[in-house]
Amino acid sequence: MTEKPQKNPGQTPALNVAGVCKSFANRAVLDNVSFQLFSGQALCIFGANAAGKTTLIRIIAGLMPPDDGTIEICGLNLCSQNPQAKKMLGFISHKTMTYPHLTVEENLRFFARLYGLNKSNTRVEELLDKTGLILYCYDLASALSRGMTQRLTIARAMLHRPAILLADEPFTALDAPACENLLALLQQFRNEGGAVVITTNNVSPSLRCCEKLAVLNNRKLFSDIKADQINLEKFC
């Protein structure tokens, strides 16, 4: 059973996913997935391996076309108003999405230029400071630890001040302090009015940062799940 879009006439949802379907070679992966997310909210989508979490988040990011359904980012249709809608998204993949042969600072400056930021130097320095990467700014991205790499990935995703942050398995291979740091950065992003969507099968850190929980199982998205309804044995 998928969530019916809630009527909220006073506010345009930051993210509106309606009736998204996707299949690969006649194997259905997502069936009529719908949900809404407003600014400042965080949604965590749980699911076992191969449940379709990455497919869903990449469709929301506009990296993969859905077979059916629509995605609206702050009221902009991701298909028809792609460039404007894309600018409102920040994406964290379980891969780093940074160039290993560039330094931390070079990576951020490169992507800042791609996003066409006016005061890119100021923004890069601000993010280096915020993510605690200032001491590592001249290190090659390939030389960073997993935790530091994840900070760089977040800094890159936040460069252009997106309205929505999409994070695909952000806690994978992070130790406890790195997890804490990531949670703090996500909370900070939400406090500034950003919406967060996380897909994961790592239950405990996700429960701490998201008030909305959903489970992707058997091609369907089950929304408004309570924390005690999550089957820990299934996902941990």
Partner: protein
């Protein structure tokens, strides 16, 4: 790349000595072979760093139009080929003793059009085959198959330039066809890049 070009020219030079083929004909073939293999070498690692860390997704998200990524890569590849040809073209001309009365501006225009045509296809296909197990060999086979119709006007234009006296009619006809191929290849590849990049994501 430069070593490869000189080696190709040298092999063609040896073949020319033992066969009754005119030096301009074999020189144009040698130059085209050198440019073709160099284009494949330039393009084969084009998307390797993007593939490694999912950077292509980051580029797609950051750019206003996915086609911009293709045009940027194409520009870099054409520039790289032009730099390589600063050595390869004089090497071929010296080896085949073609210099007297050669029209350099026309040669430069012809080579630039050949570079754009070769690189346009090689750049798109490099993205398509990136991540496959046989990416390098597959790229070579596909590029040569797709580019084979373009070889005819390319050879015709170069041959007319290298022949003494050069034949302006053949050159202009070859140049016109090269221009047409470039326009078609670049436009089609630019439009297709969105689908190819999305295919990489799938």
């Amino acid at each position: 790349m430069i070593m490869l070009a000189i080696l190709i020219a040298w092999i063609f030079r040896i073949a020319a000595e033992s066969a009754e083929i005119s030096a301009p004909a074999i020189a144009s073939a040698a130059l085209l072979a050198a440019i073709l293999f160099s284009a494949i070498l330039v393009c084969e690692k084009n998307f390797a760093s993007e593939h490694e860390n999912d950077c292509l997704a980051a580029l797609i998200l950051a750019s206003a139009d996915t086609g911009d990524i293709y045009l940027a890569k194409l520009t870099v590849n054409v520039t790289m080929l032009c730099i390589f040809e600063l050595i390869a073209v004089p090497a071929v001309l010296v080896l085949f003793k073609i210099n007297a009365g050669l029209s350099w501006p026309r040669l430069i225009i012809a080579i630039l059009l050949i570079n754009i045509g070769f690189s346009s296809i090689a750049t798109l296909l490099a993205c398509a085959v990136q991540g496959t197990k046989t990416a390098n060999s597959l790229l070579g086979v596909l590029v040569m198959a797709v580019l084979s119709p373009m070889m005819i006007p390319a050879v015709s234009a170069l041959l007319s330039l290298f022949s003494q006296p050069d034949t302006a009619f053949d050159f202009n006809r070859g140049l016109g066809l090269l221009l047409a191929f470039d326009a078609i290849f670049v436009t089609v590849c630019w439009l297709l890049f969105d689908f190819v990049a999305a295919g990489q994501e799938n």
